[in-house]
C-alpha cells in the first residue's frame, strides 16, 4: 500500500452486497464510477459520496470510500457542508429525478448557482422506483402509473434546462447503456472546477422498463443521439453521415459535412438550451454529451479565501478579546 494513488476498480468496491433489481441500469453506472474514480489519482479515503433517498441513493453503500446516505432531497445541503468543511475531499453527489428535481428541487438549483465543487450524478429513470412506481417530475405527460391510472396530467421537467437555468457551469448527459460514453463524461465532470451536473438516462427494469429504449437502446442510439463534444462537429448516425447545426433558436438537420461545430464554453447558455430541447423530437436526434463547461468562481474556495483574507488583515482572533471588550467595567 505504499502507493495509494494507484487504485483499481476492486479497491473501490465495498463489502456490501449490491441490492438493486437484476437488470437495473444502476449497476452499469456503479461500474463506470468505480472505473473513473480509480483512475483519478486520488486516494480512496479522499472521496466522499453523498446521496439522498431513492434507488440511486443507495449508491454510497457500494463504494469503499467515505459515504453519507442522507434524507430525501437534501443531499445538496449536506454535500455543500462536507465540501466547505474539508475542501480537500472529492465530493460526489448521487441523486435521482424524484430526489433531485421534486422534493430536492430547491436545493438542486442553489448548489448549482453557488457553483459548489461537487459532482452531481442525476439518475433519471422517469419514475419513482423505491416507492414502487409513481410518476416523477420527468415522467412524460400521460404516463400511466400506480398513482396515475388514467395517465399523468403533469408536464415534465427537462433536467438539463433546469441546470442551465440555475447557472450550472458544467452540464452533461449520458446513458447507462453506453459505459464508454459514461466514463468519458464522468471523467470530464471530475476535472471540472465547480459544480458538475450530469444527467444519466437510466432504465428502471421493473416500473418503467424501456423508457429510454427509443433513444439510448444499443441498436438505435447511434442513429437517435448526437454526442456533443467540445470543438467537434455535431455528427451522428450509424455511418457518421448525418449532422445538425444551430439555426437561430432552432436546430436544423444537415449532412455530416455541413454539421455545426459545438462549443460548450460560449458565454450564453442559450445554444445549450436549444440543444436540450431536442428531447422528444422525431425529426432530430436527442443530444447527449457535454452541453456546457464554463469557468466561474467556486463557492467553497471563495468561502475559505474570504476567511484567509480577514485573517491576514486582522490576524487570528483571540477569544479573550471577544469577551473583554472596551465597554467592560470592573467591580472590586
Amino acid at each position: 500500500m505504499s502507493d495509494t494513488n494507484i487504485l483499481t476498480k476492486k479497491d473501490l468496491k465495498s463489502d456490501q452486497e449490491v441490492r438493486w433489481c437484476p437488470g437495473c441500469g444502476d449497476y452499469s453506472i456503479l461500474n463506470s464510477m468505480q472505473a473513473v474514480l480509480a483512475g483519478l489519482g486520488i486516494p480512496k479515503e479522499e472521496f466522499c459520496i453523498v446521496s439522498g433517498i431513492g434507488c440511486s441513493s443507495r449508491f454510497p453503500y457500494y463504494m469503499n470510500t467515505y459515504g453519507f446516505h442522507t434524507i430525501h432531497g437534501r443531499a445538496p445541503g449536506i454535500a455543500t457542508g462536507v465540501k466547505i468543511a474539508n475542501p480537500n475531499l472529492s465530493v460526489w453527489m448521487i441523486t435521482g429525478d424524484g430526489d433531485g428535481l421534486s422534493i430536492g428541487g430547491n436545493h438542486m438549483i442553489h448548489i448549482l448557482r453557488r457553483n459548489v465543487d461537487v459532482k452531481i450524478l442525476l439518475f433519471n429513470n422517469q419514475i419513482y422506483g423505491l416507492t414502487k412506481g409513481q410518476y416523477s417530475p420527468t415522467s412524460p405527460a400521460g404516463l400511466r402509473t400506480k398513482s396515475s391510472p388514467y395517465g399523468s396530467v403533469d408536464r415534465s421537467f427537462n433536467p438539463l434546462k433546469l441546470a442551465l437555468g440555475a447557472g450550472a457551469t458544467f452540464v452533461a448527459r449520458t446513458m447507462d447503456t453506453h459505459p464508454k460514453h459514461m466514463e468519458q463524461v464522468l471523467l470530464e465532470a471530475a476535472t471540472h472546477r465547480g459544480s458538475a451536473f450530469v444527467e444519466i438516462f437510466q432504465n428502471c427494469v421493473i416500473f418503467n422498463d424501456g423508457c429510454f429504449d427509443a433513444v439510448a437502446g444499443r441498436k438505435v442510439r447511434d442513429e437517435r443521439t448526437v454526442d456533443l463534444r467540445a470543438g467537434e462537429a455535431m455528427v451522428y448516425g450509424d455511418n457518421h453521415d448525418k449532422g445538425i447545426r444551430l439555426d437561430g433558436f432552432d436546430v436544423r438537420a444537415t449532412s455530416a459535412a455541413e454539421a455545426g461545430v459545438w462549443d460548450p464554453t460560449v458565454v450564453s447558455s442559450a445554444p445549450a438550451t436549444v440543444l436540450a430541447e431536442l428531447d422528444g423530437r422525431e425529426d432530430l436526434p436527442t443530444a447527449v454529451g457535454l452541453f456546457r463547461r464554463v469557468n466561474a468562481p467556486v463557492f467553497d474556495q471563495d468561502v475559505h479565501a474570504q476567511v484567509r483574507a480577514v485573517l491576514e488583515r486582522k490576524g487570528p482572533g483571540r477569544l479573550e478579546d471577544l469577551l473583554y471588550t472596551k465597554d467592560a467595567w470592573t467591580v472590586s
Binding site: 454510497p60 467515505y66 446516505h69 442522507t70 437534501r74 445541503g77 466547505i84 468543511a85 476567511v307
Partner: protein, 637 residues
C-alpha cells in the same frame, strides 16, 4: 412664562413633595432623592432612535455601577407608517442599587415622543408615574395618525400621572440653530436631547455618551457636535426650566460580585458562547442558517468572526441550513444551525438524521409566540415538547435551555460540550425575551473555561462506525482518514458492524443504545441548587427565561417571612439526577411557564406522584413579578 408647563396631576405623590419643598431659584440645590430601583421606558416612532437612547442610558447606568435589566419592544414591521400605533418602538431599562432580575413590571417614567407612543404604553405605567411628552409632535395630524379623536391631555387619561410637556422639536431646533445642519438632521438629534434630560433627572454623567458619539460619528464631526450639543441642552434644560421639582439618584449596586462586567444581550452572549465552546472543543465552527426573527442576530454576529475561523453560510432554506451543518459535522467541524419555531418545524427530519447517524450538532431555537408565524417579535416557551419529542421515531436528543441573557453564554458552551462529547445533536433553547433583553454579565476568567477537546479516531484496528465506548458513544472520524472509510446514513445500522440492518431485535437494541446514550449525559450534569428553604410548602420550578421573574417573586415572598423556594432547570432533557428527592420535600411544586403547561406535562410523566401545579401564560409577554407573587401568596394562603 414657561411654555412647557409641568402639569402636576391631582393625585400624584409629587404634589406633596412640591408643597414640602419651597423651591429656591438655584436648581442645583434641588433635593436629591435616593431611589433603590427605577424603571424607564423610552417610546417613540421606529425612526426616533429609541433603541439607541435606551442602550445609551443602559450603558451609562452600567458605568456608574447599577445592576440592571433591559427589554426592547419593537414592532415586527420594519418601518410602520410614521406616527402610528404599530410604528411605536420602545425600550425599557431598570437600573438599581440592589440585585435585579427583571426589567420591571411597570415603568416609573415614560418618555413618549408622540401621541401614539403615549397611548400604546400608558396602561403599563405605575400609578403616579412621570410622563415626559414631546409636544413638538402633538398636532392634529399626529393625533389623527395615532387614531385619537381627543387629545389625551384633555381626555383625563393622564389623571394620576405627573406629566411634563416639552416641545423637544423646538428646543432642539433652538439648541442647534448655529449647527449648519439641515432641519431634518437637526430633528434626528431629538433623542439625545431626551437622553440628556433623563441623565439630569437621574444624576447620570454625560461622559460615556459623549465619548460614544465621538466614536460613532468619527467620520462626521458635525454630527458628533450636534448630538453632543443636543445631549447637553437636554441636560441643562433640567437645570434651567422648572420641569422637575426634585432630582433622583440611584446608588451603585454594592452586592454585585467583584469582577469585570459588560452589558450583554442574550443573542450576543449565545454567539460568544458558541465561539467559546468551539474553542474549548478545539473545533472550527460551521454555521448553516436561514434568517428568521428573533434568531438572525446570531447569524449576523457569527458571520463577522472570520478571524476566529468561523464559517457561516446563509442557506436557501431552513432545511439546507441544518443539512449543511450536518455535512460539516460529518467532515469534522462543529456544525451549528440557528432558528426559531417555524424553522424548527422544517428542520425536524434532518434532526432525526443527526440522531440516527450520531453526529454532533447544535440546534439553536430562539422561541417566539406560535403556532405558525404567530407573533415573531413576542416571546414564548412553547417549543419545549417539540424540542424534547418532536421527531419521527424514537428520537432522543438532549435539550439545554438558557435562563438569562448572560446565562446564554454558559448554556451555549454546555450544548457544544454535550454534542461533541456524546456524539449527538443538542437543542439549545432560548427565547425572544432573552435574545433581545440585556443584563450585566460578569465575564468568565479565561482560566475558568475548561477545555473538552474533541477526539477523532485514526486507528483502523477493529474499527466500525458504531463501535461504542463505555458511555455508549461512537467514534468520530474525519473523512480523509486513511483506512477508516465508512458509510453512514438514516437507515438502521447493525450494532455490531455499522452496516445496514433490518433485523427486528437489532433495531430494538439500537433504539435502546441511542436512548441510553442520551440518558448517560446525566452523569455529567449537576443537580440544580435550590434557592430558599430545603423543604416546605412550596417549590417554584422554572426553566428558561422565567428565571428572573420567578427569582424576584420568590425573593419578595421570602422577605415577607413566608416559606417558598425556587429551583431552575437548565438541562431540560435529560433531567439531572436527584430532582425527585428535592421535589418530594415540598408539598406543592408550582410550574410557571410561557406556554399551556408543557414542562408540567413532562414533569408529570417523569415524576409521577409529585403534585405539580401548572401556571401557564401565553400572552407573548414574560411573567410580571406581581402576578407571580400573587399566585404564590394564593397557594400559601
Amino acid at each position: 412664562m414657561r411654555k412647557d408647563a409641568a402639569r402636576p396631576a391631582a393625585r400624584a405623590p409629587w404634589d406633596t413633595l412640591r408643597t414640602m419643598t419651597s423651591l429656591p431659584n438655584t436648581r442645583a440645590e434641588l433635593p436629591l432623592q435616593q431611589q433603590e430601583s427605577v424603571v424607564i421606558r423610552f417610546a417613540g416612532d421606529s425612526g426616533d432612535g429609541m433603541q439607541i437612547t435606551g442602550n445609551q442610558f443602559t450603558d451609562t447606568s452600567a458605568f456608574v455601577g447599577n445592576d440592571l435589566a433591559t427589554l426592547p419592544d419593537f414592532p415586527a414591521e420594519i418601518r410602520a407608517p410614521v406616527g402610528t400605533r404599530p410604528g411605536v418602538s420602545g425600550f425599557q431599562v431598570r437600573f438599581s442599587s440592589a440585585d435585579v432580575h427583571t426589567p420591571g413590571d411597570q415603568p416609573d417614567v415614560l418618555v413618549a415622543m408622540n401621541p401614539a407612543a403615549l397611548i400604546v404604553n400608558i396602561r403599563d405605567l405605575k400609578p403616579g408615574a412621570i410622563i415626559v411628552l414631546n409636544t413638538g409632535n402633538w398636532g392634529e395630524v399626529d393625533l389623527k395618525k395615532a387614531k385619537l379623536d381627543i387629545d389625551p391631555r384633555k381626555s383625563g387619561v393622564l389623571d394620576g400621572f405627573r406629566v411634563i410637556e416639552i416641545d423637544i422639536n423646538t428646543r432642539v431646533k433652538e439648541a442647534l440653530a448655529s449647527s449648519g445642519l439641515s432641519s431634518k438632521d437637526v430633528q434626528r438629534c431629538k433623542n439625545f436631547y431626551t437622553l440628556g434630560l433623563m441623565y439630569w433627572l437621574y444624576s447620570r454623567p454625560l461622559e460615556p455618551t459623549l465619548k460614544w458619539l465621538e466614536k460613532k460619528f468619527a467620520k462626521s464631526p458635525e454630527l458628533v457636535n450636534a448630538n453632543q450639543t443636543a445631549l447637553r441642552a437636554g441636560y441643562n434644560a433640567g437645570d434651567i426650566h422648572e420641569h422637575f421639582q426634585t432630582r433622583y439618584a440611584v446608588a451603585r449596586c454594592e452586592t454585585m460580585l467583584p469582577g469585570t462586567y459588560r452589558n450583554i444581550m442574550g443573542n450576543q452572549a449565545l454567539s460568544l458562547g458558541l465561539v467559546a465552546g468551539a474553542n474549548l472543543a478545539r473545533l472550527k465552527i460551521f454555521l448553516g442558517s436561514y434568517p428568521i426573527t428573533p434568531a438572525s442576530d446570531i447569524l449576523h454576529q457569527l458571520s463577522s468572526y472570520k478571524d476566529h475561523g468561523v464559517i457561516t453560510m446563509q442557506a436557501e432554506d431552513e432545511i439546507a441550513a441544518i443539512c449543511s451543518a450536518i455535512g460539516a459535522a460529518f467532515a469534522g467541524q462543529l456544525g451549528i444551525t440557528t432558528t426559531s419555531g417555524p424553522g424548527m418545524a422544517l428542520k425536524t427530519e434532518a434532526m432525526g438524521l443527526a440522531i440516527s447517524t450520531e453526529l454532533p450538532l447544535v440546534i439553536v431555537d430562539i422561541q417566539r409566540a406560535g403556532p405558525s408565524t404567530g407573533m415573531p417579535t413576542k416571546t414564548e416557551q412553547s417549543d419545549l415538547l417539540m424540542a424534547v419529542f418532536g421527531r419521527n421515531g424514537d428520537a432522543p436528543m438532549p435539550v439545554v435551555s438558557c435562563s438569562t441573557p448572560a446565562d446564554a453564554f454558559e448554556c451555549a458552551i454546555e450544548a457544544v460540550r454535550i454534542a461533541t462529547q456524546f456524539m449527538t445533536p443538542v437543542i439549545l433553547l432560548s427565547d425572544g425575551y432573552i435574545a433581545n433583553g440585556s443584563e450585566p454579565w460578569r465575564l468568565p476568567k479565561m482560566a475558568d473555561l475548561v477545555p473538552f477537546p474533541a477526539v477523532f479516531r485514526t486507528d483502523p484496528e477493529g474499527f466500525h462506525p458504531f463501535l461504542r465506548d463505555a458511555r455508549g458513544v461512537r467514534p468520530w472520524v474525519k473523512p480523509g482518514t486513511k483506512g477508516l472509510e465508512h458509510r453512514i446514513g438514516g437507515l438502521e445500522k447493525d450494532a455490531d458492524s455499522g452496516n445496514i440492518s433490518y433485523d427486528a431485535k437489532n433495531h430494538e437494541r439500537m433504539t435502546n443504545l441511542r436512548h441510553q446514550k442520551v440518558l448517560n449525559v446525566r452523569d455529567t450534569i449537576p443537580t440544580p441548587a435550590v434557592f430558599g428553604p430545603e423543604q416546605g410548602d412550596l417549590l417554584v420550578l422554572g426553566w428558561g427565561s422565567t428565571y428572573g421573574s420567578i427569582r424576584s417573586a420568590v425573593d419578595l415572598v421570602q422577605r415577607q417571612g413566608k416559606s417558598v423556594a425556587q429551583i431552575h432547570i437548565r438541562h431540560v432533557w435529560p433531567m439531572a439526577k436527584g430532582l425527585d428527592e428535592i421535589f418530594a420535600r415540598y408539598r406543592t411544586v408550582l410550574v410557571p411557564e410561557l406556554n399551556m403547561g408543557q414542562m408540567t406535562r413532562l414533569l408529570r410523566s417523569e415524576y409521577p406522584g409529585i403534585p405539580f401545579l401548572s401556571y401557564p401564560k401565553v400572552q407573548g409577554l414574560p411573567f410580571t413579578t406581581t402576578e407571580l407573587v400573587e399566585r404564590i401568596q394564593t397557594i400559601l394562603g
